[in-house]
């Protein structure tokens, strides 16, 4: 059984006992424990179930590479699935549940899959579940979905109780990884005076070095690390962050780091995670290396662990993984685990070393001296046990398995297949790798680094991440990395380390090397996704020869650990099966993030009310208090209508239309886009942008203009006012302000950069109120301050003046067909003016109106609406707006496009009015059907509805639409289909101007 040793544990504080639960069972750990170490201390070897076969799973690693020990953490609004126990720091009150089993972790019905495993090899689902056809959706897929997945989904109805935030940092050097290499590099870089940010994913500095031991500059390595840390902390230009993982590296020195602020102490105030968004001149990846498992039968049984992880558990957390641990290895490093176990009084019955070496290396000799039996040239034939290791059967490594030489009882197997540098971050942005045959690992190719805008390398690896495997080499490379990053040449030598000389590793990808198919079917590569050696070989046999094919066919490396333990082993098996060299087969692509990061952290602060903050006009609050029914329009809200007590939406809209037509309506038009276009060439510029002539407009006058894109399609409309010789104010649609501004800048900056024109978006600088209806002039006269008479301010004119002392600019324009003034004021005056208009307007029956009334009134008048009558495929000619297209101008945006064959086509659909025969309202977007079907069997259509409303003014449905030969077919009845495609509505083609055809109302 696994248990806590009586002494030791460099990271735990035995005086601080912490209580936690696992599957409801109350257990106790120590401060400084991870959840994994605390579970092991309580003999909880079984921690989860695998994805496909529901095999029992125990912890195999001690860090971010862990594929097995995943738990659901927390409860309710703080529940989180798929948390690695190895990177979860224990806290008092922690509550964890294991995953992917039913009814319980110990007795999982799904484990029947393990019995059927022979029938469920890689990719079996591509070959089966095809008949009967309907069964995929209704039977097979639901069953597969239920058994797949890992953790439970968080509750849908509770919002995440935690908050998140983003930090932005700009540094000269970002060093990722706070092991001894990262610390040494950061110190060297810090000494140059540059700004340095050093991040470390765990809560501790020093990485593996304190566990692996050794001496640097005559001091124990732990003291040397403490010295480095002290030096770094003393530098003002260096920032250190622990619990902060380098998550991804992107183009141009952009990097993400993921800081876990309160996962280890959930009662802390403040955000849970912080996403660092970093621009760095140079990035150093001191990300260490990950030990590889060995592929032997039963290597997935709980109790089989990485040799380095066993060492970590003993040294860091004083865990005995069992009284007897068998070591199996192809290298010297695992001997350190044997020695550590021995030094804590634990038994190591055997070291099974696949190598046959002529002489003992230093570590071997030390192990032998401690009385440990070393079986050279041997292998594990299979591991005995089901839910935990009972022992190992050993055989000759050269054989094919089955010829068991000896069975050795044990509780733990510590395996080591060598080390793989963590090259993920190096690779994210295009860093390339070389295969190092001697060490059997991929390491960064420094000549093919990720490059920046000038072709300069901006990422450099340091230490084990660069393939340096001994303490001395790591420190040497850390100093070299600092030089590569800073460009400074060496000022002092690398610190000297005392290290044992190790015998070379021998690559072992399968154990024993000729393992039979029965062995290979039980030798796991990817523990979480249940991919075995036999699966990868099957993929190769079936022609999935590309490493990407093999990955996708078998799901190797696609689990939550993204293949940190399995990729290289799987790749080696694949290349073996193909008879190819490992570098020829290549790796799959490394993608961010290094380990999964929370969606909450990605979203950051932008949640709920401040997810896309609402833009508010100066009158927003008044409208909100007085019954506005809001609708989102771009980033604004506009009132659909302003309801009075007891009214339905429809009643409110009809009242607003009626009152505006009969008395006086007020519209908050502040959202209307307002762009100042200024400069000597402003007129010339607007002549190019609008289809009509703007340069001839006189100061003091307004003109309605149309804007087309390069393809001739109508993109925006609005009233342009000429303020003075050099200045125009262009009104755009509410939704169009930003992109029309961008459109103008695009042309000014890219094409007409030598024109004297400047554009400023002043949309928010002004409030704008439309005063509309027969009483519009009366209310302005009652307020007083400027002459708004018919003679003084004619239709399509504007004037500056004052109303009750408020400086205003009044435009005499109308979008409703009524007498109308649009009054622009500085935003800070808008509310005052609104209140004034509301109070003085009382005697004239003033009422505010919303967007729906606005739309109805413009439709009654036959005015087009961008986004209704236009959809990016409509040209002004389709809307009978020929009058707004200049014939005199040599060029304007869209002019040449309008000459293209399809634009000049006679049979383009044209704008007409539509009246249903029965007076009902046509459905929005309905199509008019023609005769027969087209070559693809679709019903032929001859037109469509673009806007449709009930007109309270006319007491019937009115609509506008685009119809084939429409203007030539006045009075004809055509048929519109409902969404069932068969029910038809008859509508008569009429003039689109339904109300006040001669414009008598607006010209009073």
């Amino acid at each position: 059984m696994s248990t806590r040793l009586a002494t030791g544990g460099r990271l735990i504080d035995r005086s601080k006992q912490q209580s936690f639960t696992f599957n409801g069972k109350r257990l106790t750990g120590c401060a400084g424990d991870t959840l994994a170490s605390a579970l092991l201390a309580n003999d909880q070897m079984l921690m989860g179930r695998s994805f496909k076969y529901h095999r029992p799973r125990g912890v195999v690693a001690s860090g971010a590479e862990e594929p097995n020990a995943l738990v659901g953490l927390g409860t309710g609004a703080r529940f989180e699935p798929n948390q690695r126990a190895t990177t979860t720091e224990l806290f008092d009150g922690l509550s964890a549940t294991s995953q992917n089993h039913w009814p319980s972790l110990e007795f999982d019905v799904g484990a029947v899959n393990t019995k059927l495993a022979r029938f469920l090899p890689a990719g079996f689902y591509y070959k089966t579940f095809m008949w009967p056809r309907s069964f995929w959706k209704h039977v097979y897929e639901p069953v597969i979905r239920q058994s797949a997945g890992l953790g439970k989904a968080p509750d849908a109805e509770t919002r995440d109780a935690d908050t998140y935030e983003h930090f932005y940092a700009y540094v000269d050097h970002l060093v990722i990884g706070g092991g001894i290499a990262g610390l040494e590099t950061a110190k060297r870089l810090g000494e140059t005076g540059a700004r340095v940010l050093l991040v470390e994913q765990t809560a501790h500095w020093g990485g593996r070095a304190p566990v692996d031991g050794g001496e640097v500059e005559g001091q124990p390595v732990t003291e040397y690390i403490a010295g480095l840390l002290a030096a770094l902390n003393a530098m003002e230009n260096v920032t250190l962050r622990s619990r902060t993982m380098g998550a991804g590296i992107y183009d141009h020195g952009y990097a993400l780091a993921y800081e876990r602020l309160s996962d280890h102490a959930p009662t802390t105030q403040g955000p849970r995670h912080r996403l660092w968004r970093i621009r760095a001149g140079q990035i150093v990846t001191a990300t260490g290396a990950i030990e590889r498992p060995l592929s032997f039968a039963g290597n997935d049984i709980p109790g089989v662990m990485l040799a380095s992880a066993v060492r970590d558990y003993v040294e860091n957390w004083a865990i005995s993984p069992g009284d007897r641990t068998v070591i199996v290895t192809n290298n010297d490093d695992a001997y350190r685990t044997a020695l550590v176990l021995k030094s804590h009084g634990l038994d190591v019955p055997a070291i099974i070393d696949a190598r046959v070496l002529p002489t003992d290396s230093a570590l071997m000799a030390e192990a032998r001296a401690k009385g440990i039996a070393i079986h050279q040239g041997h292998a594990i034939d299979h591991v005995m046990g089901t839910k935990r290791v009972r022992g190992v059967a050993i055989c000759s490594h050269a054989g094919e398995g089955g010829a068991v030489i000896e069975e050795i009882p044990c509780e733990c197997v510590a395996m080591s297949g060598g080390w793989s540098p963590v090259v993920h971050l190096w690779s994210h942005c295009g860093g390339k790798l070389n295969w190092d045959q001697a060490n059997a690992m991929f390491r960064p190719d420094l000549t093919r680094a990720p490059t920046g805008d000038k072709g300069q390398a901006f990422v450099t690896p340091a230490g084990a991440a660069n393939g340096a495997m001994t303490l001395g080499d790591v420190l040497e490379d850390a100093v070299a990395a600092a030089e590569r990053a800073s460009g400074d040449t060496r000022t002092s030598d690398a610190p000297k380390a005392v290290v044992a000389v190790e015998a070379p590793l021998a690559p072992v990808w399968m154990m024993p090397q000729g393992a039979s198919i029965k062995h290979r079917m039980k030798a796991w590569l990817d523990y979480q996704n249940d991919v075995k050696v036999s699966d990868v070989q099957l993929a190769a046999r079936e022609g999935f020869e590309s490493v990407e094919h093999a990955k996708r066919y078998t799901t190797l490396g696609m689990a939550t650990d993204q293949g940190k333990l399995s990729n290289i082993n799987g790749l080696a098996i694949l290349s073996g099966a193909l008879g190819a060299e490992i570098p020829q087969v290549g790796t799959t692509t490394f993608r961010p993030p290094y380990t999964p990061i929370s969606m909450g952290a990605i979203a950051g602060e932008a949640r709920a009310e401040i997810f896309q903050p609402i833009r508010k006009t100066p009158i927003h609050d008044w409208l909100d208090k007085n019954g506005a029914e809001w609708e989102p329009v771009g980033h604004w809200r506009r009132p659909y209508c302003i309801k009075q007590a007891g009214e339905t939406t429809e009643q409110a809209v009809h009242r607003e239309v009626k009152n505006t037509r009969e008395n006086l309506g007020l519209l908050d038009a502040s959202t209307l886009g307002k762009l100042i276009v200024k400069g000597k060439d402003a007129g010339k510029f607007l002549d190019m942008l609008y289809t009509n002539m703007m340069s001839t407009l006189k100061p003091g006058r307004c003109r309605y203009g149309l804007m087309c894109n390069e393809n001739g399609f109508l993109m925006d409309d609005g009233v342009v006012a000429r303020i003075d010789e050099d200045t125009f104010l262009c009104h755009t649609t509410s939704g169009g302000a930003d992109h029309i501004h961008a459109h103008m800048e695009d042309w000014l900056q890219c094409e007409w950069w030598d024109w004297d024109v400047y554009v400023a978006n002043v949309t928010e600088q002004y409030g704008q109120i439309a005063v509309v209806g027969p009483n519009a002039r009366k209310v302005l006269e009652a307020i007083g301050g400027m002459d708004v008479s018919k003679e003084a301010l004619t239709f399509m004119g504007w004037a500056d003046g004052e109303l009750a002392g408020i400086p205003v600019r009044v435009y005499r324009i109308s979008f409703s067909g009524e007498l109308s003034y649009e009054i622009a004021v500085k935003a800070s005056y808008a509310r005052e003016l609104w209140d004034l208009l509301m109070s003085v307007g009382k005697q004239f029956n003033v009422m505010p109106y919303g967007t729906e009334a606005l739309h109805i009134m413009r439709a009654e008048k036959g005015f087009i609406m961008i986004g209704d009558e236009t959809d990016g495929t409509v040209i002004p000619q389709d809307l009978n707006l020929h009058w707004a297209i200049s014939k005199k101008k040599e060029d304007f945006m869209g002019k040449r496009a309008h000459e293209r064959a399809d634009m000049a086509r006679e049979d383009r659909w044209k704008l007409v009015g539509l009246e249903t025969v029965d007076g009902s309202v046509l459905p929005d977007g309905a199509y008019a059907v023609g005769e027969g079907t087209n070559a693809n069997g679709q019903r032929n259509v001859i037109g469509r509805v673009t806007s449709t409303y009930h007109s309270p003014t006319l007491g019937r449905g009115i609509a506008m639409g685009l119809v084939l030969h429409g203007p030539d077919r006045m009075g004809e009845v055509i048929r519109f289909a409902k969404t069932d495609g068969t029910t038809m509505i008859d509508a008569k083609i009429v003039d689109p101007v339904f109300y006040d055809k001669d414009g008598e109302m607006q010209n009073v």
Partner: protein, 414 residues
């Protein structure tokens, strides 16, 4: 070709699966083929497949620079739908969707087409009108869609937040027979079927030139030698511009990276596909349990298949608002695919200025769902010189201004 079935799996299990044959052959290129398709992605393989199946043309090579299905076929978000607005789009996407329905049986390869339903949320009045228009158009195009209420949306997607403080859900356009499929399997299934018809799928063979004589195509130059052909189909998505350049013509196409990501797997919590165009994001849950999330396309031209971060942030923000529970899930992996975008965001399936040379490109962000329809139409175009499915998508539409613009209905996400 030996047929796949549960019995075959059982039979092979008895001999430890040692008896499975290759899914597709790995032949040496011949000197000449009747038809060469450049690009062994879904569209290229489907073109070859329907050339054989519908027109009996099997002297075909599909040439691939990398590994088959390794471009956008293997890096999309697997959504299949046909609720398009414009007639030509609806025709080809609906043809594709209907072929997906029987693809597993037709190919004897389980592509896991799952008609789980796709909904497109309306979150503004403008979107309501747009989707109602699409619903009307679809009714006449033979595409079954319906407008559904917020209540029905919640029934179908219990994890959705209807009343987000910013953009409440006002309804949705729902296509019940739309859904997802296993993207890699589509390429693999077609490759296997093509190989079975005697066609050559040649991987790791890069085309370096297009050979022509008297204005007519005669073959291609490749890293594995010259290969002759009577007809050439260029089906290379993001690299269309390069290959067109070899053939001597230019395309109105730009290549940009489209961003996507998946979460860690969780137990089933969402059975349908949801697209939210106002806030720019869409999401479904794979059979493996991952939430598959699509984002926007980068705003700059690019050939690297790398993920960038700003779109991921925007998309995840939008989806955390739409599905608050995903806040406590984690992003497992993000990636990018190079999509070829035309001016009207609709594809090009067309003859080219070079006689005998045809092009299929410009699928932009929406190609996966079109694969079988695109292959069907492209095969007909190459075999007969004309196809009603592809007529409207010819290259000359950009000269004539005859655009097929779906932006009304599609917003950002296809």
């Amino acid at each position: 070709m030996r047929s796949y079935s549960a019995f075959a799996v059982a039979r092979e299990a008895a001999r430890y699966h040692m008896g499975w044959e290759r899914a597709w052959a790995s032949p040496e290129p011949k000197k000449k083929y009747e038809v060469i398709i450049i690009g062994a992605g879904g569209h290229g393989l489907a073109t070859a497949y329907y050339l054989g199946k519908n027109f009996g043309i099997t002297n075909v090579a599909v040439i691939e620079k990398g590994w088959l299905g390794g471009g956008n076929t293997g890096r999309n978000t697997t959504i299949i739908r046909s609720n398009y607005l414009q007639d030509p789009s609806a025709a080809i996407y609906e043809k594709a969707r209907s072929l997906y329905e029987t693809m597993s049986q037709d190919l004897n390869y389980n592509v896991m087409f799952s008609p789980r339903g796709v909904m497109m949320l309306a979150q503004t009045q403008h979107e309501i009108r747009g989707y109602q228009r699409t619903a009307h158009a679809n009714a006449l195009q033979g595409v079954t869609t319906e407008w559904i209420s917020p209540g029905r949306v919640k029934e179908l997607v219990p994890i959705i937040n209807l009343d987000g403080p910013r953009y409440p859900v006002l309804g949705a356009l729902w296509q019940a027979r739309a859904g997802t499929a296993r993207h890699d399997a589509v390429a693999w299934g077609y490759a296997r079927a093509c190989s079975d018809m005697g066609m050559h799928v040649i991987q790791k063979c890069e085309v370096t030139g297009v050979r022509q004589e008297g204005g007519k195509v005669t073959g291609v130059t490749t890293t594995r030698g010259d290969i002759g052909c009577d007809k050439l189909g260029i089906v290379v998505a993001g690299h269309s511009g390069h290959v067109a350049d070899m053939a001597g013509f230019r395309l109105p196409v730009e290549s940009v990276a489209l961003q996507a990501l998946v979460s860690e797997p969780i137990k089933p919590c969402m059975d349908v596909v949801v697209m939210a165009n106002t806030v720019h994001g869409y999401m479904s849950q794979s059979d493996k349990g991952e939430m598959v999330i699509g984002g926007g396309a980068d705003g700059y031209n690019n050939y690297t298949q790398r993920g960038s971060f700003h779109h991921i942030e925007e998309t995840v923000r939008a989806l955390v608002e739409t599905f608050p529970m995903i806040s406590r899930l984690k992003m497992l992996r993000q990636w990018g695919g190079i999509v070829d975008m035309t001016g009207d965001r609709s594809p090009i399936l067309s003859k080219t200025p070079l006689e005998g040379c045809f092009i299929n490109c410009g699928w932009g962000t929406g190609g996966f769902k079109a694969i079988p329809g695109s292959g069907w139409g492209m095969a007909e175009l190459m075999a007969k010189g004309q196809s009603p499915l592809t007529d409207a998508f010819s290259l000359d539409r950009f000269k004539e201004g005859r655009f097929i613009d779906e932006s009304v209905a599609a917003g950002v996400a296809h």
